[in-house]
């Protein structure tokens, strides 16, 4: 955490003000006003359990600087406030450190003596704790992802250790803390139903309907409902559920976030734009017919596509469900135990990332962190991990745009990349190289893109006319890498040899 503390004085982002506002709302206002309050534009849009968490934090915040808890003090950022917020992230990271430790205990250690630096559990620990994306998003950009990912990884670790009730409890908590983890809820639902509620399988791996255990289903149901009651209870009692849901799922925001996440819709947008430009050039379209260039303005708003059909939230939902259907079906029909569950979780996360509505590029971390566990054990997964991680982390670069942060992000990225490449190569050295030459060329191209966007572009004349160009190029280039990783992960799940399903 030394360097976490060192960057305490970095520029703060809007997320800092968001969380300060939530501290103020939960502390100063009665519960009934929490989801109606909109003095500030950053309204409460996380589930109630997170609001209770902020309430707890605000009790400590009072000792640091009581002024930050006034709702009217918009953009209040005294040194004490900054210190408190940053410290809270560092302290809640304890959850993440504990979770990383649990994951390391699940990793199979190969026989034979090895020095500390080459043991899989050590490599996993460093890949998790020093994950570039997490460091940048949490400590510079400011969020509580370490805390939340701690819950996710702990839940995964519990499932890997066959303690399913604890895993389910942790996931229920997580879902009520930040609803973005709905992305991976299908994986949990199907896996627990199939592998936990049906206590045994037939010899060939198919479902043994007779082994259905109502007791287990009841236990799971009780856990989920009690956690939801704890979180949503007061709001349901006050009849505020529709308002809360409308705050949690704001579909008024556009298809793409201000910084385009590297997913399918970024490629779709670029295709649409280039077709429009091409159409105008070839005189197939009238320039006046096209809607104004609002998509690339970098603001969050509704917009339409000019040539290709517009995309509505329903369409994205259908695409997402279609994309995760094979994975979910696979663990229903041929479960591979907890490892298969982890793979399905990754695919759900990536599928929702690729096809979801208004996806943040930070969501790529939901896929990267669990993939680290698979990467230290299998050579193929290590190759996929390297591609996904490098492109995913690079796509986070636009989040830090001030010159003061440029050395930090470049150096941190270099460190993580060097470590992941050399450590994973050493772990899997016996089985050949990790990356195909074409993949290596793609990753080297990333360096070229980085230099072009960070160094060449700001000094070139196009800066005024096309300010969004670096973001566009970054998104598109990374989207290709993410798509490729998605497809390869799917291949590895569906084409996997059958393993004997574990008895629970």
């Amino acid at each position: 955490s030394q360097q976490h503390v060192n960057v305490i004085s970095c520029i703060r982002s809007t997320d800092f003000e968001v969380h300060r506002n939530w501290l103020a709302i939960t502390h100063s206002l009665p519960v009934s006003r929490w989801y109606y309050e909109n003095t500030s534009e950053w309204t409460l849009d996380y589930p109630p359990l997170f609001a209770w968490f902020e309430l707890g934090l605000s009790q400590v915040a009072r000792r640091f600087d009581a002024n930050m808890l006034q709702v009217e003090n918009l953009n209040y950022a005294s040194p004490a406030t900054v210190l408190f917020q940053r410290l809270s992230v560092i302290v809640t990271d304890v959850v993440f450190i504990y979770a990383a430790r649990e994951c390391c205990r699940c990793v199979r250690e190969p026989k034979g003596s090895r020095d500390v630096l080459s043991r899989p559990s050590f490599v996993l620990a460093v890949l998790l704790l020093w994950n570039f994306g997490l460091l940048v998003v949490d400590h510079i950009h400011f969020q509580y992802n370490g805390f939340l990912f701690g819950f996710l990884l702990l839940s995964v670790a519990k499932h890997l250790q066959s303690q399913h009730l604890q895993g389910a409890l942790l996931f229920a908590f997580l879902l009520n803390l930040k609803h973005i983890y709905l992305y991976v809820a299908p994986a949990y639902g199907v896996y627990l139903l199939r592998s936990y509620c049906f206590a045994q399988d037939n010899k060939d791996g198919s479902v043994r309907w007779s082994s259905f255990s109502p007791l287990r289903l009841l236990a799971l149901g009780a856990i989920v409902t009690s956690v939801c009651a704890l979180s949503f209870g007061p709001f349901i009692a006050m009849g505020q559920l529709p308002q809360v849901l409308s705050r949690l799922f704001p579909f008024k925001r556009g298809l793409c976030h201000a910084y385009w996440a590297p997913n399918i819709w970024a490629l779709y947008n670029v295709l649409d734009k280039s077709l429009a430009v091409l159409g105008v050039r070839l005189k197939l379209l009238e320039e006046a017919e096209l809607p104004p260039a609002s998509m690339t303005g970098g603001l969050v708003q509704e917009f339409e596509h000019s040539v290709l059909p517009s995309v509505t939230p329903a369409v994205t939902l259908v695409c997402t469900l279609l994309s995760i259907l094979p994975a979910v079906a696979s663990i229903w029909l041929r479960p591979h135990g907890a490892q298969g569950f982890l793979r399905c979780l990754l695919l759900c996360a990536l599928g929702c990332f690729m096809f979801g509505w208004h996806v943040h590029e930070k969501a790529i971390l939901i896929a990267i962190l669990p993939l680290s566990i698979l990467a230290v054990e299998s050579r193929e997964d290590a190759g996929i991990f390297l591609i996904l991680t490098t492109t995913g982390h690079y796509s986070l670069f636009p989040l830090l745009f001030t010159p003061a942060e440029l050395p930090i992000k470049v150096v941190l990225m270099l460190m993580f990349t060097i470590f992941s490449f050399t450590a994973l190569r050493k772990l899997h050295s016996a089985q050949g190289s990790l990356l195909h030459p074409l993949e290596v060329i793609y990753l080297l191209g990333l360096v070229a893109v980085a230099i072009a966007c960070e160094v060449v572009f700001p000094l070139s004349p196009w800066q005024q006319r096309l300010p969004f160009l670096p973001l566009l190029v970054t998104s598109v280039y990374c989207a290709m890498g993410v798509c490729y990783a998605f497809l390869r992960l799917y291949a590895s799940l569906l084409l996997r040899r059958e393993e004997k399903p574990k008895q629970l």
Binding site: Q2, Q3, V5, N6, V7, I8, S9, C10, D115, L117, S118, P403, A404, P407, I408, V411, L412, L414, M415, I418, F419, T422, A423, K426
Partner: protein
């Protein structure tokens, strides 16, 4: 893991630590009219870029020497000129003559911090990496650990990237000199050290050991024949380097004299501010400054310094090995720091560099001294608003060096070279010296932590406003004195075991 990847990760970590510190405040931030060292460096860029060379060191209408006049040798001036040239292309307002006085902005701060980082990357860090890889013994993991601790030394990071100076350049050149001497390239080494001397005159603290080592080596190889030839070559190289650096000023003798007058200001007193050396600490008991006249202060300090430095240098002259060279560097710089005239607290960095070289052989003593040296500069850091970086870097350094170098494990009497003490104090009952040393270490760290907290948090009583700086400097002084005595004893005792002696010649 391969060495190169470990080395690059450690270097990148060191860069992060440096850049993290540089995001904090600098000396004299927002404090007109004089500001601080940061403004001094910016002013030198302004002066060297806009004025002709002849006017750089003179008091003219355009160049007011009372406002941060140049008082370092010419190489600093040339470096400032290069930085000013780059500054001018980015934003001419930064170096406009007269108008840019006291200029402060976030972009300018970024630029200045970048210049320090670039200078470090070009000069200091490669020297450290090469030294640790080629001149320390042990497994490659041990070498990387030493390199990491070396690069994490808090004092240099806080002064260069916090307070704002370019010590990395002069210390880097000196380190290149030491590296060359260790590899047997004496001529190149002397050239590097001459460059260091021409960057900051305080490198004179290291001059005697360099001189005695090279002279001793020449004598050993025979004063008639090869030795003399080597001596001549070294002499010619040094003179040529000096001539090259001072070329523009050698046209007129008055020019050269003025530069000398600027870099050696003997009109000031015995000490300024609270420094952890003998005179300041003595001053708390006996008011030396008022008892002795200016001239006798000068002679007293000269005499004491020479007395302190002589034993170590003569030993080096008779036994010119690399091991003795390293020890003599520490002893000489400590002697100068403790007894010399007009010493600044930042000069402890000159003793810290050789101490870093000893991290491999005497880990506990070296890291103890390095920690004490950082602690001694605490009042300066508090004045610059660098408390948080100070805490973080000191704790990080302490943790990493104790853990990676297993300093507290290798605590036997033999490893600590305490054998000599047994011989000296043979009349005292036999004690477990290693045990005593370990406990002294714990107590001392606790004292440093306690005093740091007290200085940062408590308000001194009104009739003793300087209580905490004085306590800090006296504690540091005791540490430095103890280190000085210990390293002298080590230098005069048996050399290390044959395995390491073979490699360090």
């Amino acid at each position: 893991m391969q060495t190169w990847s470990l080395v690059s990760i450690c270097v990148l970590l060191a860069i992060i630590a440096r850049w993290g510190v540089s995001l904090n405040s600098y000396s004299g931030a927002g404090k007109p009219p004089m500001f601080g060292d940061y403004e001094a460096q910016r002013h030198w860029q302004e002066v060297t870029y806009n004025l002709p060379i002849q006017e750089w060191y003179f008091n003219t209408t355009n160049n007011d020497l009372n406002y941060w006049g140049l008082d370092y040798p010419p190489l600093t001036a040339y470096h400032s000129w290069i930085c000013a040239y780059i500054a001018k292309t980015i934003n001419p307002e930064w170096v406009e003559l007269h108008k840019s006085r006291g200029y402060e902005s976030t972009q300018h701060k970024l630029f200045m911090r970048m210049t320090v980082l670039v200078a470090d990357l070009l000069i200091y860090i490669p020297a450290v990496v090469l030294y640790c890889l080629y001149l320390t013994d042990g497994s490659s993991k041990k070498k990387v650990s030493i390199m990491f601790c070396f690069l994490l030394y808090p004092g240099l990071i806080l002064i260069d990237y916090g307070h704002f100076q370019y010590n990395g350049v002069s210390l880097g050149f000196a380190l290149w000199g030491i590296l060359a001497l260790g590899l047997g390239w004496d001529v190149l080494g002397s050239m590097a050290f001459s460059l260091a001397l021409n960057y900051k005159q305080m490198e004179l603290y290291h001059a005697l050991p360099f001189f005695c080592y090279l002279l001793g080596k020449c004598i050993k190889t025979g004063l008639i024949g090869r030795g003399l030839f080597l001596l001549v070559r070294i002499g010619v190289t040094v003179l040529a380097t000096f001539a090259l650096c001072w070329l523009p000023f050698l046209a007129e003798p008055s020019q050269a004299m003025q530069v000398v007058r600027r870099i050696f200001p003997v009109a000031r007193g015995l000490f300024e501010d609270k420094v952890a050396n003998t005179w300041c600490s003595l001053n708390t008991l006996i008011k030396i400054k008022s008892i002795l006249s200016g001239d006798s202060q000068l002679y007293l300090s000269l005499a004491c310094t020479l007395l302190a430095v002589l034993p170590s240098c003569i030993r080096l002259l008779t036994k010119p090995t690399f091991w003795h060279f390293k020890l003599a560097l520490v002893n000489s710089s400590l002697a100068f720091f403790l007894f010399s005239f007009q010493v600044h607290e930042k000069s402890i960095l000159l003793a810290a560099l050789p101490a870093c070289l000893l991290l491999n052989d005497l880990p506990l003593m070296a890291l103890w001294f390095l920690q004490a040296s950082t602690f001694s500069m605490l009042p300066l850091f508090l004045k610059d608003g660098l408390l948080v970086p100070y805490i973080v870097t000191s704790l990080g350094f302490l943790f990493f060096s104790i853990y990676l170098l297993s300093a507290l494990d290798h605590c036997s009497e033999d490893k600590l070279r305490l054998g000599a003490y047994n011989k000296l104090f043979y009349w005292l009952p036999k004690m477990d010296l290693a045990f005593i040393v370990r406990w002294k270490f714990y107590i001392s760290i606790a004292a440093m932590v306690g005093l740091s907290i007290a200085t940062a948090v408590l308000i001194p009583p009104p009739h003793l406003p300087d209580l905490f700086p004085v306590l800090v400097s006296t504690t540091a002084f005791l540490h430095f004195l103890g280190t000085f005595i210990h390293f002298n004893v080590v230098q005069f005792s048996e050399p290390p075991s044959r395995k390491s002696q073979k490699k360090s010649n």
